[in-house]
C-alpha cells in the first residue's frame, strides 16, 4: 500500500507527535507514506472567515499538486488532521457542486500553470487504517496488546462532519474498532464528536475551556482512563489547557490525551520516544490513577 | 416581438432537438415539469407516441435529415412500460441505431434514450438542459448523405430490423 500524505501545519508544530506516531505505525504496518512535496496550508477554519475563494484556492493547490504527482494514476491523499481533511474535502466537493467555485478556482490554479480535475481521493488516516489496512492485518501485527486502557475515543468534529463518508456523524465507530483491535476497551459515550471549542480556547477562554471541560468531564464520568484523539487541535485543547480547566472548575484533572496512533504504535511495539510521547504534558503512565 | 422571432441567442448556435416521448411516462413527466414550472432550455420539440416501442429508427434518421441537431427518446423505466415491454424493444433498436449512426459520422451525444417516469419532471428538465449543452458544443448536425425514407431501398431497412430483431426486437 502506498499513499500520498498531507501533514498540514499542525503536524509540523504542536501536533508533531501525531505525525511521528502515525508515520512510525504505518511503517510498521508496511504502508508507504510519501509527503506531498511543496504542500501549503489548507486554510483551516480561520481562512474561510476572511476570504472564501482564497481559502478554497489554498486547499485546491494541494489537490492540484497531488494530482500532478499521480501523473495520471489515481491518487489517495491522506490527511490525518481533521481541519485539513475537511478543507480538502470541501474544496473538492464545492468545485464540483458550484460552478462559480469550480470556475474561479480552476482559473486561479491555471494562473500558476496548475489544474485540478477531481482525480484525488482525500482520506482521513483512520479511514485508511480501518478500511485499507483492515482489522485483520492489525490483529496480526499487534504484539503488545494494551489491555490496561479504557479509551474514550474522541473524533472531534471535522473528521465526520459534514462529509463523513466513512463513519457516522455523531456516533462514529472506526476509532473504537481500532482501539478494540489493539486490546484496549473503548468506552461508550455520547460526546465522541462534540466540539472541543476549537480556537475559542485561545480567543474566548471562558467559552472554549468550558467546551473542552465538558468533553473531559464526560470521558471521566464514563470511566475512561485515556482519551484518544484524531485531531491536533482537539488534542491541544484537551491537554494543554487541562491545568487551566482544573483551576477554573476546581477539579484535579489528570487525563492523558493522546493520538490514537500513539496507542496503536505502542501496541505495535514501537518505543515511546519514536511515538513522541515525551512531548505530552500529562504522561500516559498517569492513567492508572484516573480509572 | 418581431414577426420573425429569432431563436434566443442570435449570436450563438441554438441546437434544435426533437423529442419522442411515450404517452404514459415521459410525456406525463414533461407535463409535470410544466405544472411544476421547472424552467429549462427551449430547444426541444416533443412528439407524442403511445409507447417508446412505436419509435421507428427511421423517425430518428428522418428527424436528423430534416435538420434537427439531436433526438431525444423517452420511455418508461424498465419494468414500468404501459404495454409491458415496448421500452425494451425501443432500447434494442436504439443500440443498433447508435452503431449505424456512428458509421454515418453522427456523434454519440446527438441521439439519447432516457427512461423517465411520470413523476420525474425534474429529470426532463435535467436531461433537456444537459443535452442542449452537449449539442451546443458539437454544433450543427449534417446528415445530407442519408437518403429520404421513401427512396430508401427496402432491403437496407430490412437488414436494420433483422439485425436488431434477432427474431425478438
Amino acid at each position: 500500500m502506498k499513499y500520498l500524505y498531507y501533514p498540514g501545519c499542525s503536524l509540523k508544530g504542536s501536533g508533531r507527535s501525531y505525525e511521528e506516531s502515525l508515520l512510525a505505525s504505518f511503517k510498521k504496518l508496511g504502508v508507504e507514506m510519501h509527503e506531498l512535496p511543496d504542500w501549503n496550508c489548507c486554510g483551516a477554519t480561520a481562512y474561510m472567515a476572511v476570504d472564501e475563494m482564497k481559502a478554497f484556492a489554498l486547499a485546491a493547490r494541494n489537490l492540484a499538486l497531488a494530482e500532478r504527482y499521480g501523473d495520471g494514476e489515481p491518487v489517495t491523499l491522506v490527511a490525518p488532521c481533521n481541519a485539513c481533511y475537511l478543507a480538502l474535502m470541501k474544496v473538492q466537493k464545492y468545485m464540483a457542486e458550484y460552478d462559480e467555485v469550480g470556475r474561479t478556482i480552476s482559473d486561479a490554479l491555471a494562473s500558476a500553470d496548475l489544474s485540478y480535475r477531481g482525480g484525488v481521493r482525500v482520506r482521513q488516516s483512520l479511514d485508511v487504517l480501518l478500511n485499507d489496512v483492515g482489522l485483520d492485518l492489525l490483529a496480526e501485527k499487534i504484539n503488545h496488546p494494551l489491555g490496561q486502557w479504557k479509551v474514550a475515543c474522541y473524533y472531534g468534529c471535522q473528521a465526520v462532519r459534514p462529509f463523513a463518508p466513512f463513519d457516522d456523524e455523531y456516533n462514529p465507530m472506526s476509532m473504537d474498532h481500532l482501539m478494540r483491535s489493539i486490546g484496549a476497551e473503548p468506552v461508550d459515550w455520547p460526546l465522541k464528536a462534540r466540539c472541543c471549542g476549537g480556537t475559542l480556547t485561545g480567543t474566548i477562554p471562558t467559552v472554549g475551556l468550558r467546551l473542552s471541560y465538558i468533553i473531559l468531564r464526560e470521558a471521566i464520568d464514563r470511566g475512561a482512563n485515556v482519551v484518544a484523539t484524531a485531531c491536533p487541535l482537539c488534542q491541544f485543547n484537551l491537554e494543554c489547557y487541562q491545568s487551566q480547566m482544573g483551576r477554573e472548575y476546581g477539579e484535579d484533572l489528570d487525563m492523558p490525551i493522546v493520538y490514537y496512533s500513539q496507542l496503536l504504535g505502542q501496541a505495535l511495539g514501537i518505543d515511546d520516544r519514536s511515538l513522541g510521547l515525551q512531548r505530552h504534558f500529562v504522561p500516559l503512565t498517569a492513567a492508572a490513577a484516573v480509572g | 416581438m418581431s414577426k420573425d422571432t429569432p431563436l434566443p441567442s442570435a449570436e450563438g448556435f441554438e441546437p434544435r432537438i426533437v423529442a419522442f416521448f411515450c404517452n404514459w411516462c415521459t410525456y406525463t413527466a414533461s407535463d409535470l415539469a410544466g405544472t411544476s414550472r421547472m424552467q429549462y432550455a427551449p430547444n426541444t420539440r416533443v412528439i407524442r407516441v403511445m409507447c417508446s416501442g412505436r419509435i421507428d429508427p427511421r423517425f430518428v434518421l428522418q428527424t436528423l435529415r430534416e435538420g434537427a441537431d439531436g433526438v431525444l427518446l423517452g420511455g418508461c423505466r424498465p419494468g414500468d412500460c404501459h404495454y409491458q415491454s415496448g421500452n425494451y424493444k425501443c432500447l434494442r433498436r436504439f443500440k443498433l441505431l447508435k452503431r449505424y449512426l456512428a458509421q454515418m459520422g453522427v456523434e454519440n451525444e446527438r441521439v439519447r434514450l432516457e427512461w423517465i417516469a411520470a413523476s420525474e419532471g425534474d429529470r426532463v428538465q435535467k436531461v433537456t438542459n444537459e443535452m442542449v449543452e452537449q449539442i451546443r458544443k458539437l454544433g450543427h448536425c449534417r446528415l445530407e448523405q442519408i437518403p429520404r425514407p421513401e427512396t430508401e431501398p427496402a432491403a437496407e431497412t430490412h437488414d436494420l430490423e433483422q439485425v436488431g430483431a434477432g427474431g425478438m426486437i
Binding site: C9, S10, K12, G13, S14, G15, R16, P37, D38, N40, C41, G43, A44, T45, A46, Y47, M48, A49, V50, D51, E52, M53, K54, A57, L58, R61, Y94, E97, Y98, E100, V101, T104, D107, A108, A110, S111, A112, L114, C157, Q158, R161, P162, A164, E169, R194, C195, G197, G198, T199, L200, G202, T203, I204, V207, L211, I214, C240, Q278, R279, F281 | -
Partner: protein
Amino acid sequence: MAQRTPRMSNLHITRRIKYQNELDLGFGKVMTSIPGAEDLLRCIQCGTCSSTCPLSIYMDHTPRKIIAMTRAGFKDEVLSSATIWLCASCYSCTVDCPKKIKITDVMYALKRKAIEEKVWPRGLPIPVLAKEFFASVLRTGRANEGRTVAKVWLKTRPLKLLANMGLGLRLMARGRMSMKSERMTGSVDQLRKILDSVHNSDTGHSPG
C-alpha cells in the same frame, strides 16, 4: 440563569421597535448567492441548529434567530452580533438541518461580510486571529500557530500574552512550538500568484 432580586435600576426599560426603513430587505436574498448559503430562505425556524449547536448558549442570538434576522433584513444586528464569531465550525447544524441549509457556510459568509463592512466587534480576538492567520499563510505558505496566537494576543490582550508565556515555553521545550516559521519547500510566489488571481476574479467577498 442566575437569580437576583429585581431592582428598579436593573430594569432596563428601553423602547424597541423596528421601522421598515431601517431594514435591508434584500439582505437575505443577497446572501443566498453565496455558495453554501443557497437554501437560506427555506428555513422553517425549527431551531434544530440552535439546539445542536454547542455554542448557542453563549450567543446573543441563536443561529435560528440569525437566519430569521438575515432573511428579514436585520443586517446591522446580524453583522455586529457575537453569534457569528462564536461559531467554531463543528458543522453540527449543517448535518442536522432538516432543510439541508449549510448553516456553517452561512456563518462564514456573515463573518466575511462583517469584516468586509468593518462592523465586527472591536477587541474581539477572533477576527484578528482570522486575519493574522491569513497574513501568516500569505507570507510563508504555512501557518505558524505560535506566532499567530502570540500576535493576536499582543494586538487584543497583551496581558494574556504574558499569562500564557508559561504554556508557550513548555510547548517550546517539548518541541511543539517554535517562533521560527515553517515554510513551503518551493517558492511561495506560486501560491501568491494563485491567491492574487482569485482576488482579481473575485465575486465581491474579499477581505476589507
